[in-house]
């Protein structure tokens, strides 16, 4: 398959594919879930949002996908403000959720076919689906099985296959590795790196410090809806991310008190 996104190149600085500007969300019950988030993800870059439960990671992703409207600020995908033109924005992005759920009565192939066509890609053949499923590590014999027989890891692989098939310049991942066994986790990381190398902009949320450090080009530490620190891969080289994370959390806590 051809890669539309690669043209941007890896090292040349350009307009960010994913960007948040002063992005805020206050829910109806008054909780400020996201507080003036600013971040940018270039193509060929993996950005990991790191934080505990309730840090605002999922809210950020929901805002990018316009599942909810921002209270202030905006989220942009490929320069399109998502809440202004959600349809155009969503053409530019693929999504893998924490717990990939697909139609249980459809086979993997049927699910792939449906979702890639829903994503606007109609030219795929059965062979393409087979290849991509093999690429994400799903064995041939599982392809024609109904999704309700799949384990969580297999579903996750299916989800990433769907994202690959969408062939979008940006990919959003919500806790993609949670609940995966170490081997599956490693395979998943390798796959993400491949996608990055193809030139996609990847934004993932995670609470797994080690994975973040392993894969991310940039790590944003979040707490209580705020981006409290942002470190480039090079800045992380010598540092102990875990200490850093705990320190920021603690510091924030103190500040809050």
């Amino acid at each position: 398959m051809q890669n539309n996104a690669v043209n941007a190149g890896n090292d040349r600085p350009s307009a960010p594919v994913l960007a948040a500007r002063e992005l805020s969300k206050r829910y109806e019950d008054g909780v400020l879930a996201l507080d003036r988030l600013n971040l940018q993800v270039q193509s060929g870059e993996i950005y990991a949002m790191l934080g505990g439960n309730g840090a605002g990671k999922t809210t950020a992703i929901n805002l990018f996908l316009n599942f909810i409207d921002p209270s202030e600020g905006e989220a942009l995908i490929g320069g399109i403000v998502t809440h202004r033109d959600p349809i155009a924005a969503k053409k530019q992005v693929a999504f893998v959720s924490e717990n990939v759920m697909l139609y249980p009565n459809f086979t993997a192939l049927q699910n792939l076919d449906y979702f890639s066509r829903l994503g606007g890609r109609t030219g795929y053949t059965r062979e393409d689906y087979r290849k991509v499923l093999l690429r994400v590590g799903l064995q041939e014999e599982a392809h024609a099985k109904k999704l309700r027989t799949y384990s969580k890891g297999m579903r996750q692989k299916c989800g990433i296959a769907i994202a690959i098939l969408k062939d979008a310049p940006a990919i959003l991942l919500d806790e993609p590795t949670s609940g995966l066994d170490p081997k599956a986790g490693l395979e998943f990381i390798a796959l993400l790196q491949e996608l990055r190398d193809e030139g996609r902009a990847i934004l993932m949320s995670t609470h797994d410090i080690f994975r973040a450090k392993q894969v991310a080009d940039k790590v944003g530490i979040m707490n209580r809806g705020r981006l409290v620190a942002e470190k480039h891969r090079s800045e992380l080289e010598g540092e102990d991310l875990e200490k850093l994370y705990v320190a920021y959390m603690a510091g924030y806590m103190e500040a809050a008190v």
């Binding site: 349809i87 969503k90 959720s97 759920m101 697909l102 009565n105 459809f106 959003l172």
Partner: protein, 470 residues
């Protein structure tokens, strides 16, 4: 995009085991309803024929047309066997004398209380229950189920306009469920042909319209279910809500609306009418007794002429009584009918809060078994009575039986008149109002069903545009 969503909906629905089970049962029940209707028609037809034959047989050997005791019966109609309406509740037998007020006696439920205990299993009933439940069973989690599954998030991570999605969802579900339903319906129609039920073009038209109304009714519950599922977050709660709504719409509202509204409107009690009439009758009779006692024939030489004079006299008296009675009766009936009309309007419109009532009323109107059947049957019987009176009058030279007396000449056996041929009596036939008329009367209900559809559709549409897909 729309096509893709419809396609997916079709495949997802038809591929599920839920579909296999419930469709199988629906299909079975629908075919059963047709079969039962057809058999029921045959049984009542046989009863009807037997009654007619018996009626003719008992006239054999009668030598005087004035002695004829004519009964007419409400003939069973094939479509009425499918949608029984009130056909089993109203009287079916009418005694016709050629004069006087007609009453229909002997309703089927009165004669066969067995069927009153459990009621009939007819197409109307099966449609009411099965189509609505079938719709709910499939659409109760149309939206919130996808959310629980997690597929809604994934879907809307793509560039899918919500309007397209919900349209596709509704169209897909409707197609996936309604088209397969046509199969048992067609099998049912085929069964009617195979069992030799005589259906004419008009009947097929009625049946087609009833099925059409059934699909509209099905559509109401489908869109309603989608609406409810777009208003709730959990499929368990939408299901609970829908079942309660179903219970009310199908079984509670129509019944309680009619009972509550019906009792709120006063209608002249039928006993009151009967008593007033019977009183007037007694009074008139008392007066006539005196007049009769004073009757003297103008001459006594010619027995034949004297008898004729006497008969004429009795006829005239009867005619006079009849006229007075009719005047009273018409006044009272008019009063009662006005009350009834008002009551019907209230009761039925209140019942129409439920689409089930609309469907049922539309089906009854189309089948000719609606509330109007009682009056239509009596009208037909009255029209027949005129024909019958003309016939008997012609045979007897103007004499009718209900003059109060039958005067027979007792002569020698030599001038015994030959027995009458009862087959000469004009036959009674009842035809329901023709198709265009029936269709016109059911238009209000069909329109109402369409409105219900639109309302629920709009509700589901708007509900989904605002739905939180997270």
């Amino acid at each position: 995009m729309l096509k893709l969503i419809i396609e997916k909906e079709l495949r997802e629905t038809i591929g599920s085991s839920r579909f296999a089970i419930s469709f199988g049962i629906c299909a079975l029940l629908i075919i059963l309803a047709f079969y039962v209707g057809a058999r029921n028609y045959q049984v009542t037809r046989a009863q009807y024929e037997a009654a007619l034959a018996e009626n003719l047989r008992q006239m054999e050997g009668i030598t005087d047309w004035m002695m004829v005791d004519q009964h007419i019966f409400l003939p069973p109609l094939p479509i009425a066997a499918l949608v029984t309406g009130i056909a089993n509740d109203i009287g079916r037998t009418v005694e016709v004398h050629g004069r006087g007020e007609l009453t229909a006696e002997g309703s089927r439920f009165n004669e066969d209380p067995l069927f009153a205990v459990f009621r009939f299993l007819d197409l109307d009933f099966i449609f009411q229950i099965v189509l609505s439940l079938f719709a709910i069973l499939f659409a109760y989690n149309a939206i919130n189920g996808e959310k629980e599954q997690g597929t809604l998030r994934l879907t809307f991570a793509n560039a899918v306009p919500r309007a397209t999605y919900i349209l596709g969802k509704m169209a897909g579900t409707f197609l996936a469920l309604a088209v397969p339903l046509l199969i048992p319906l067609l099998i049912g129609c085929l069964l009617l042909i195979l069992l030799g039920i005589p259906l004419n073009g008009g009947d097929w038209g009625r049946l087609a319209l009833i099925i059409g109304a059934g699909l509209l009714y099905f559509g109401v519950f489908l869109t309603l279910s989608i609406w409810v599922s777009a208003l709730t977050r959990r499929s368990a709660s939408s299901f609970l809500l829908l079942l309660i709504l179903w219970l009310f719409a199908v079984l509670i509202i129509p019944r309680s609306a009619v009972l509550l509204a019906g009792r709120a409107v006063d209608v002249l009690p039928i006993d009151e009418i009967a008593t007033q009439k019977s009183r007037l009758m007694a009074q008139l009779w008392e007066e006539d007794r005196k007049v009769m006692a004073n009757f003297r024939p103008s001459q006594t030489e010619d027995t034949e002429a004297m008898l004729n004079e006497f008969n004429q006299f009795m006829q005239d008296q009867a005619e006079k009584r009849e006229q007075k009675l009719r005047a009273l009766s018409e006044r009272l009936e008019e009063q009662r009918r006005n009350g009834e009309r008002l009551r019907e309007r209230w009761a039925l419109w209140l019942a129409r809060l439920s689409p089930t009532a609309s469907f049922s009323l539309a089906a009854m109107n189309l089948a000719g078994t609606s509330l109007m059947l009682k009056q239509q049957y009596l009208d037909a019987a009255n029209a027949y009575q005129e024909r019958y009176a003309a016939f008997i009058g012609e045979k007897t030279g103007g004499m009718l039986r209900s003059g109060g007396f039958v005067v027979r000449r007792i002569g020698g056996a030599d001038n015994q008149p030959p027995p009458i041929d009862p087959r000469e009596i004009p036959a009674f036939d009842y035809q329901p109002p023709p198709l265009p008329e029936a269709a016109a009367t059911s238009l209000a209900d069909i329109g109402l069903l369409a409105c219900f559809n639109l309302l629920c559709f709009a509700g589901a549409f708007v509900g989904f545009l605002r739905y939180d897909v997270r």
